[in-house]
């Protein structure tokens, strides 16, 4: 599963009520105000603290300023700095957050190029509650191991 653009039907889902996380933080990086709002609402439903950024440069600058997030939802196409560049830069900085790419329904080639920038997962936008549940479950497993 890791490193693939999985679909929601192939994921082992658990109920959203099982993954309420009061200690996790997320950064939503998307140039669409509507999608930022939707993802913000979905993540807050699970108890995450959420910040938003309208492009990759804003996201990278936040990390440069010392911010840290458990989860980053990264749109691919954005002005100023796109998701591929931002992901590469974050990984080069040593950021180990779970970075999840969100792309348009434009084909597997688009997801593959994005994955190679350093994503943990890549899904079509907008993310569904089922996919968010899956990501939070993976995040919890990862945090429990450390």
């Amino acid at each position: 599963m890791s490193g693939n653009g999985a679909s929601s039907s192939s994921l082992n889902m658990i109920s959203g009520e099982d993954v309420v996380n009061n200690n996790l933080s997320a950064l939503v990086v998307d140039d669409s105000p509507l999608l930022r709002l939707l993802h913000d609402i979905h993540l807050k439903k699970y108890g995450l603290k959420v910040q938003v950024a309208e492009n990759g440069k804003v996201a990278v600058d936040l990390f440069h300023l010392g911010a840290s997030f458990d989860l980053v939802l990264m749109d691919k196409e954005m002005p100023v700095m796109n998701g591929v560049e931002a992901t590469k830069e974050l990984r080069a900085m040593g950021v180990t957050s779970m970075i999840v790419g969100v792309t348009s329904k434009d084909g597997p080639g688009e997801q593959q190029a994005f994955m190679e920038a350093g994503l943990d997962y890549c899904f079509e936008k907008p993310l569904t509650p089922e996919i968010i549940s899956f990501l939070l479950e993976e995040l919890n497993k990862h945090n429990n191991k450390n």
Binding site: D31, S32, L34, I41, H42, D75, P126, P129
Partner: protein, 155 residues
């Protein structure tokens, strides 16, 4: 529509199902309805308003870009990407597909095809707006019916 009902909630559900059947709405809109129950009562209205305002602005910018002597395909692609994202988020399935087709034409730098496909994007946007207007009207009826029933209750 089989089995038409006078119950406003059932009418709304039937209408949304019809919009799904016609491909105008998809599952992403249903996700928003599910979120509505946990948010403020005007959540859907505010989201639709946000979508409509943003979409009109993007469409205006694409119109300008297409009208230039030297067509600005870069702006078209940029604004179309944002329009696609918003449309996908709100669950406007046919409009999203129209945007995807326009994107291909813009990538190819084909002005004539862009003009033709942009017309379809605008048509689908108008269809989607009418759909949302109908849904908003039905929801207002549901709310006002609920208010009237509560007022009739004996003290």
């Amino acid at each position: 529509m089989a089995g038409s009902s006078t119950d406003p909630t059932q009418q709304l559900n039937d209408y949304i199902r019809t919009m799904h059947d016609q491909g105008i709405l998809d599952d992403n809109f249903d996700q928003l309805l599910a979120l509505r129950r946990e948010q403020n009562p005007r959540f859907i209205t505010e989201l639709i308003s946000m979508f409509t305002n943003d979409a009109e602005a993007y469409i205006a910018e694409i119109t300008n870009a297409l009208s230039l002597t030297e067509v600005d395909f870069s702006t078209i692609i940029s604004k179309l990407h944002q329009l696609k994202g918003s449309t996908s988020g709100i669950g406007g399935h046919r409009m999203y597909q129209a945007c995807c087709e326009l994107r291909v034409a813009a990538d190819d730098g084909d002005k004539d095809r862009c003009d033709e496909l942009f017309l379809r994007v605008k048509e689908e946007f108008n269809t989607l707006k009418q759909c949302f207007d109908s849904i908003s009207e039905m929801r207002r009826n549901i709310i006002s019916n609920g208010t009237r029933r509560r007022r009739r209750r004996p003290l």
